[in-house]
């Protein structure tokens, strides 16, 4: 077979050649902007040539600090298109972590959304490698800024070469992208994506048995482009000539609902908190969401009640998926097998509310206390993954040795696997409640709590306990309509029939809000810190 490498820029080239009229629709501060793939292609080539002129060399990193929009999409292809590395920076990280990762990645250039300038300005003096700041703005002139030297994105494009030829003499295993993921303690850890990994992951997104992304779709990644490449959707959607809708900055559930309706979005992707918000919005407003053929949900476990509400009330098929920054991210996706289609509604919902089974191209192992666990839906073990779109290390980081061992990624996720090979995330290894030598899944308790009609959000954490080592505590946020109308006892009564007595939380606390990580997951560490003496103090 020909020695033709799998390279990121060839994906854009396919859109330019075969789908020049198809569109990318961006919600910006100035309203909706539409570009065809022909235009995106030319603009991307201009940007690529401009980055070369700014002195970016093959293998060097270029950072982006930006929302989901067409300019960010252009940088997705322009940076790997010159053989450099697209470093998407999570804007929700703490400033000291942002300066850490820019320096650690040795970013040469930063592409920054105008409204995110203050974030960069606040850490400007810490940045030791950046040679140029490029401002992505709708306006004709540059905003005032302390950053130096500073360039106007559109001005650079004007001077750029619309026929610039993307790099071809590069090994497919060379880096094309990178993303840092928060660590429980310490600085974020860098994950590097190769050209090969991104192309293969894009192919997986197009498989009929995975998300089946197609030219026929209208794809709207709600998951940020600064987080695991928006789950790879912008890459794959461009390759397939899919219409893309970019929700832009500071969107609300209302904006998401309106975009679905106006742009006839067929596929979207995001974390459960996004979809909880949308569900809430759909219940209040009157939207036509009939264009949607599937919503992908990952990042943390989706409550079963939410899946059911989307599917039965709004006829929106809801696809549970699982992945990590380290896994590009798609590795597990929930789809019924053909012979499961005849099961009852409830049984099908039970299956679909699990994370799902392994997508073609990756391999797994589940390791419990005594080696490989039984596929019985009961025995818990840590999920190990292996495959061509799974990281092999953290970038220049000693913590590599914790997570990457013997050719496998140790995910830190505790799962069960049933007879059909369907994976259910039970907990993070560090969030499991280890009570008297037995394991209690905080996630199972949370899902049960969130199925209560009065409860908006719930987090269950392990709190040190003298006799049992650890015991669970539930932190609950009530829906506005139920505030101060529901008692602890009512919630205990609701849980009791569902769990063994020793699984029940030792306390249920009503909070106004649950602290979240930069990507919208529950920040359990903060709750654990806050409540670490809750049971000893009570006793």
């Amino acid at each position: 077979m020909m020695n033709v490498p799998l390279l990121v820029p060839t994906m854009l080239e396919r859109a330019e050649k075969f789908f020049p009229k198809k569109q990318v629709i961006s919600r910006t501060a100035e309203g909706k902007k539409t570009h065809t793939y022909k235009e995106i292609g030319e603009r991307t080539r201009r940007l690529a040539s401009a980055l070369e002129k700014l002195g970016v060399k093959k293998g060097e990193r270029v950072g982006t600090i930006a929302w989901n929009h067409h300019r960010h999409l252009e940088s997705y292809f322009a940076i790997p298109g010159i053989g450099a590395v697209l470093h998407t920076i999570n804007i929700r990280l703490a400033p000291n972590h942002i300066s850490y990762i820019v320096n650690h990645a040795e970013d040469q250039v930063l592409l920054i959304d105008e409204d995110l300038l203050p974030l960069v300005e606040s850490v400007k003096d810490e940045l030791s490698t950046v040679k140029a700041f490029v401002i992505m703005t709708e306006k004709d002139s540059l905003p005032e800024t302390r950053l130096q030297p500073v360039y106007h994105y559109e001005e650079l494009l004007k001077e750029g070469n619309p026929s610039f030829e993307f790099v071809t003499d590069i090994d497919e295993n060379e880096p094309a992208g990178m993303c840092y993921t928060s660590a429980t303690t310490g600085n974020p850890k860098g994950v590097v994506y190769s050209h090969r990994g991104i192309v293969l992951h894009s192919m997986a997104l197009g498989l009929a048995d995975c998300s089946g992304l197609s030219e026929n779709d209208v794809s709207m990644p709600v998951v940020p482009m600064f987080h695991v490449n928006a789950w790879g959707m912008p890459f794959a959607a461009t390759w397939f000539g899919t219409t893309q809708v970019m929700p832009g900055p500071y969107f609300t559930p209302k904006i998401i609902a309106e975009l679905i309706q106006s742009e006839k979005v067929t596929i979207s992707a995001g974390v459960p908190t996004i979809w909880l918000g949308l569900l809430n919005e759909l219940e209040q407003g009157n939207y036509d969401t009939s264009s949607i053929t599937r919503i992908l949900c990952g990042g943390s476990a989706a409550p079963k009640g939410m899946i059911k509400a989307f599917e039965t009330k709004y006829k929106i098929p809801f696809v549970h998926a699982y992945g990590m920054t380290e896994t590009s991210p798609l590795v597990v996706l929930s789809r019924l097998k053909s012979y499961q289609e005849n099961l009852s509604d409830e049984e099908r919902l039970d299956i679909r509310s699990k994370q799902g089974s392994l997508v073609p191209g990756v391999e797994m192992k589940v390791i419990g206390k005594d080696g490989d666990v039984a596929w019985d839906g009961q025995e818990m073990g840590e999920l190990l993954l292996r495959g061509p779109w799974i990281a092999s290390e953290y970038y220049k980081d000693e913590r590599t040795t914790d997570a990457f061992r013997d050719g496998w990624l140790y995910t830190g996720d505790v799962v069960t696997v049933d007879e059909e090979g369907i994976i259910k995330i039970v907990d993070r290894t560090k969030d499991l409640v280890k009570s008297g030598g037995e394991w209690i899944s905080s996630v199972d308790l949370e899902n049960a709590l969130m199925a209560h009609e009065a409860i908006f959000e719930a987090a269950v954490i392990a709190v040190p306990h003298e006799q049992w080592q650890e015991r669970p505590i539930a932190c609950v946020v009530l829906k506005d309509a139920y505030k101060e109308k529901v008692t602890k006892e009512e919630i205990y009564d609701f849980l009791k029939p569902q769990f063994a007595k020793w699984w029940l939380p030792d306390d249920i606390l009503f909070l106004d809000t649950i602290p979240k990580t930069s990507v919208g997951k529950f920040l359990k560490r903060a709750l654990r810190d806050q409540l670490k003496e809750h049971l000893t103090t009570q006793a």
Copy 2:
């Protein structure tokens, strides 16, 4: 990213682990036999260990001379599973070509269907490398044969190891399969498929925008497993856990129609002559073919009338595709773009009767007399292809230099490309009629002829002509009901409104049959030889 190679046996491992209950249904001489993927997995491992015991080493070739059935499927994975090379042998080749390719590939072992033994026995004395003959038979004992040493497939399996571990320490670029393709003159040319090529091609088959092969499908490759790996379907279907129906030996259109009905086949693939036969059968019988969601048709151009008949009369979506032995084969496939769905029935049929556009992962060029042709649907040029599942050479063959140049495969197919990037095969470079310095497409004339209600098959060939260099002659086979009831003049009257006068054939000959190649394509060379003096003699 992890350095995990793309290897063929991992595709079977996925079926074993995640789809152990799904089935492979084989039509055999003894009736239908059903095996689960669990059983296929164990049997394949047994076969792999048996082949090792027979002395097959990594990189060596093992030949198969067999129809489409579960044992052939087992060899598809067992042979690459020990790092050896699956050499599928086209049983329709002339005996001297069969002995040539067995010797040229240096096959160490041959796996032979019992009913095909005479074919091998007839060339036995010419075979210089084969160390063992394995007979695939339904019977308990070995048939009488002159071949030596000879083994019983099922006996070998009995002694084999059901837990045999497939090879993992192999580079993905190592060969996994090979297939010889007939040449216009001389011996067949060998094409080698790498593990990487087969896995990537399988992924393409699963893309929603290509054939979208899925676990939900019931896949029946009618195209033989001895021809370009049955277009890769057995590999991909196994990977996705798809139910497979193998039509076995000596099938007829009736058998195909019955299998579609009884097994609820959803996807099938084959050459136009197969589908012409099926269409004929459907017109005579009363079959339920409602399970079919698409038929893939390739190998040569499908007449528009046939596509229309399948789609309008039988509601069977008909997907035109294009490929070659050298291209694994899928590279071009006909699918409407989303914005073409609103066109009229006739316009959509026009688009779908072209070969289609390039599948993700491969690149093309179309080179006419003056370099790249315009994408105007008019200008003709030779199609060049490049990609990771396209061969880079003919195996140990000097003819490599003709077809593989500057990193591209010169397909020998003349095409036009329209504004949408949709390819239409106009002719083989060697079948084009070059008349007075202009090009006449034999395929266009054939398609027009085959749309005539009285015509079953038609081939148009170039015949030497004193004044014009070459002129077209049409060879026509009438449907039984129309034999001797249609005149040459009636057919000229039918053609005249459709073509410029100088395109009209110089003669129309009524034949009983059109000679075909070993894979069912028109053997125009034979007609050309036969008719080479037709116009000069007439004059």
